[in-house]
Amino acid sequence: MKKQWKRFFLGIIIFVCMFLGIVNENVAAYNSGHLPRLVDEGDLLTDEEERRLIEKLDDISGRQQCDVIIVTTGSLNGKTTTEYADDYFDYNGYGLGNEKDGILLLVSMRERNWAISTHGAAIDAFTDAGQEAMTDQFIPKLSEGDYLDAFNQFAELCDDFLTQAATGEPYDVNNLDSEDSIFAMPGVRIGLAIGSGCLLAFIVVSVMKGTLKSVRSQAAASSYIRPGSLHIIKSYDYFLYRHISKTAKPKDHNSGGSSTHVSSSGSTHGGSSGSF
């Protein structure tokens, strides 16, 4: 009997220790606000890659005081990608500061969908146009299966966007165009300058060349019309038919800013989604 009791107590102690250990680990993570900023449920990265990416995300989040989170998942459990991303953010205690500032990128492998959810100050830092510009760059890499590259680029873009937002003018329709514009690249500028220069020079020398030519046929005989001899006797103007063509107006992108929605927990999120 003694032996049995011993075993029982030992079992309970071990069980309690294990339980406490798990709780402690969780509590530790929760208290410091740090569930891992990379949750790779879809298992797209190797452990080494995960470790380095988490370091990077931690570094950016710490510097910018805004959580940058990447979550990959196998299944969405019947939610939309946006709902899943919002809930993941809300129920896992992400977000830094009073406003719980943070941005979360969710990649769902089964549906091959992605969603970005922003919260707090990140809503304004990542405008609709800004998110479009970001995703235009890294989503193609997701499509190609280049996950590590895509996530690294997402992290770097977030860093860049948050730095820009800190100036008080986040990337938006009005400053994105000029920033992204190929016109800003020095090579393009030189090429364009040379192109227009040559074109203008060609026009000028063509005009100079044109002065050498002065012999031209006269199609009409207007100089020989007897003055006052033109009389119109009959004139009709009949309407025949009409054609109407319509073209869709280009959508007005000038408004800018960020659109928001409310998640199941009642908090306000910004974001965007799509498939890859």
């Binding site: 030189i190 006269q218 009409a220 005989a221 019309i225 025949l240 038919y241 109407i244």
Partner: protein, 359 residues
């Protein structure tokens, strides 16, 4: 009983059918709808069309009087075969068409006597000045061309012209469009309305000149137009003294076609000027009927210089009445590329500076 008519679609040419749902004629091919009234009017105009009738009385020129041509000598160019007429005292000269020395001489005979002549109003000095001015400021002209020019060899030549007078009745049909554009929230609309426009009227032409010499390019002579007939006088051989006269070798009948072209074009153009309020006006058909058409033979004064440069012949002409100077000039290709490259560099730098400041 109503006649069964087949209307053709003015838009695409297909046969139209009546569409009872819209109570209009509709083209089954292009989908365009037409009011019955519009089609009827359009058809009436089409039925009135007739071909051009451009006939001429061509009693141009007259016979020479006895003894009138005694002093006149024909100079024939050995090089180009050009024939010019001059008086006996003119002496050795060079061909105004190709610049070669004229050697053969012969007694003038045949040809018609001109009806009119416009005597030279501008002298040789004016012609030389005209040439100098013509060559001035042309940066792509080869420099040697200027210096080598045989400016003294500029010659006064009476050029034979056939002059055409006529009254024209024109019936011209135009297709005109009017464009209206508007937009709502989602779309931009462009409405193009098509009109059939008809103009019928009269117009008179006086003394349209057509070059009667095949040795002198027609476009060169048309380039120094207009000649003003007010200065013309009845022909007298005395006016030829000191000048050359070209012989006509294109008959009046061969010249009619060119006169008709210009009359037709001018009529369409002048009638079109009365078609207003449209975005575009295109001539669809025109029919010209001429009446009182007659031709005359006249000599018009032209200062001419022919010169050769790098194996190519360049001819200059100045209107001896108005002083208008023309003549195509050779291009200095080296200068052309030098200018192009230096301007390209300058403009490129300017553009780059502008881009730098603006963006």
């Amino acid at each position: 009983m109503a006649k069964l008519l087949e209307y053709k679609c003015p838009s695409c040419g297909g046969a139209l059918k009546f569409d009872s749902s819209v109570q209009k004629m509709k083209c089954p091919y292009c989908g365009t709808e037409f009011e019955m009234e519009a089609l009827k009017n359009y058809d009436d105009i089409l039925n009135q069309e007739q071909p051009d009738d451009m006939k001429w009385e061509t009693q141009a020129g007259s016979e020479w009087k006895t003894g009138e041509t005694d002093n006149m000598i024909i100079y024939t160019c050995k090089s180009c075969g050009g024939e010019i007429v001059g008086d006996q005292n003119l002496g050795a000269t060079s061909c105004p068409f190709c610049g070669n020395p004229v050697v053969m001489m012969g007694q003038f005979s045949g040809d018609l006597r001109p009806d009119y002549v416009i005597p030279f109003k501008l002298d040789k000095q004016a012609a030389k000045d005209g040439l100098v001015k013509h060559l001035k400021g042309k940066r792509l002209l080869p420099k040697q061309f200027k210096s080598q020019n045989r400016i003294n060899e500029i010659k006064g030549v009476y050029v034979p012209f056939w002059l055409f007078d006529a009254d024209a009745t024109g019936k011209v049909r135009y297709k005109a469009t009017r464009v209206r554009a508007w937009s709502d929230e989602d779309y931009n609309y462009t409405e193009t309305s098509y009109f059939s426009v008809y103009r019928e009227g009269e117009i008179g032409f006086e003394k349209i000149p057509v070059d009667g010499s095949s040795k002198i390019a027609d476009d060169l002579m048309e380039s120094i137009e207009p000649f003003y007939f007010e200065d013309a006088v009845d022909f007298q051989t005395a006016y030829l003294a000191g000048y050359l006269a070209d012989r006509y070798d294109v008959t009046v009948n061969q010249s009619i076609e060119r006169a008709n072209e210009r009359i037709k074009h001018s009529t369409e153009e002048n009638f079109a000027a009365t078609v207003q309020g449209y975005s575009s006006v295109i001539t669809e058909s025109s029919s010209i009927q001429l009446s009182n058409g007659n031709a005359k033979y006249a000599l018009y004064p032209v200062w001419m210089l022919s010169t050769t440069w790098n194996g190519k012949n360049y001819t200059f002409a100045m209107n001896g009445q108005t002083g208008k100077f023309v003549g195509d000039l050779p291009l200095d290709k080296g200068a052309y590329w030098r200018w192009f490259f230096s301007l390209s560099v300058i403009f490129s730098i300017i553009f780059y500076a502008i881009f730098w400041i603006a963006f």
